[in-house]
């Protein structure tokens, strides 16, 4: 079964420092991987996705993620954190081989707290 794991419930980082939010995946075929962000009382917003190609994917708001097949990871990164980046981050996966399998399977979420 397709799954993603986000091992950290919360990540704390000081403003201006680099941040990493971890995600590992398990799929039977090639993965389609996504990162979404959720601000308080808001729906999820798409940040970036990996389908194929370059292992480093750039997305919205200065975020990027690195796909690592050998480690089955897709960590979200940003070189310099902002207080406004504080939110709940979700990693998600879709099985790319089985075209009839369309749903996203989400991780449990990681709360990012950026302190001034």
């Amino acid at each position: 079964a397709q799954s993603v794991a986000q091992p950290e419930d919360q990540v704390n980082v000081a403003e201006g420092n680099p941040l990493t939010v971890k995600c590992t995946y398990s799929v039977s075929g090639n993965p389609y991987l996504f990162w979404y962000v959720q601000y308080p009382n808001r729906g999820l917003q798409f940040l970036l996705k990996y389908i194929t190609g370059d292992n480093l994917v750039k997305g919205s708001y200065g975020f990027e993620a690195e796909f690592n097949k050998s480690q089955t990871s897709f960590h979200l990164k940003k070189p310099s954190a902002l207080v406004s980046d504080s939110a709940l981050y979700f990693c998600a996966v879709r099985d790319g081989l089985r075209t009839g399998f369309q749903k996203l399977v989400f991780g449990t979420g990681t709360r990012l707290l950026v302190s001034p």
């Binding site: 999820l44 389908i51 790319g96 369309q102 991780g107």
Partner: protein, 117 residues
């Protein structure tokens, strides 16, 4: 342009009552999804519509849950005989056609917060 809209934004209902939640997807999006977000359960897939194909209902937790999509656009999620464990935020999302191995991102609405008392 307009995003995904959902109504109502909040719904409080008594145990045993039926509720209907509405989703208006982005115009032109043929794929529509319902998810549920609750404490301790994270984000759960409920149902997926793609064009005129039969919906994927594999995530519906019980036969009290049903959904329909009229005219390939607006969708309604119905929960019959609500229970307290149905309390959650119900999120709707839409995307371009996902068939043929494509993987377009999903755009989410703000959600409906359902509280069953």
């Amino acid at each position: 342009g307009a995003g995904v809209s959902q109504s109502p934004s909040n719904k409080v209902t008594e145990k045993g009552k039926d509720v209907e939640l509405r989703c208006d997807p982005i115009s032109g999006h043929t794929a529509l999804y319902w998810y549920r977000q609750s404490l301790g359960q994270g984000l759960e897939f409920l149902i997926y519509f793609q064009g005129n194909s039969a919906p994927d209902k594999s995530g519906l937790p019980s036969d009290r849950f049903s959904a329909e999509r009229t005219g390939g656009s607006v969708s309604t999620l119905t929960i019959q005989r609500t229970q307290q464990e149905d309390s959650a935020v119900y999120l709707c999302a839409s995307s371009l056609d996902q068939s043929g191995g494509r993987a377009y991102e999903q755009y989410f609405g703000p959600g409906t917060r359902l509280t069953v008392t």
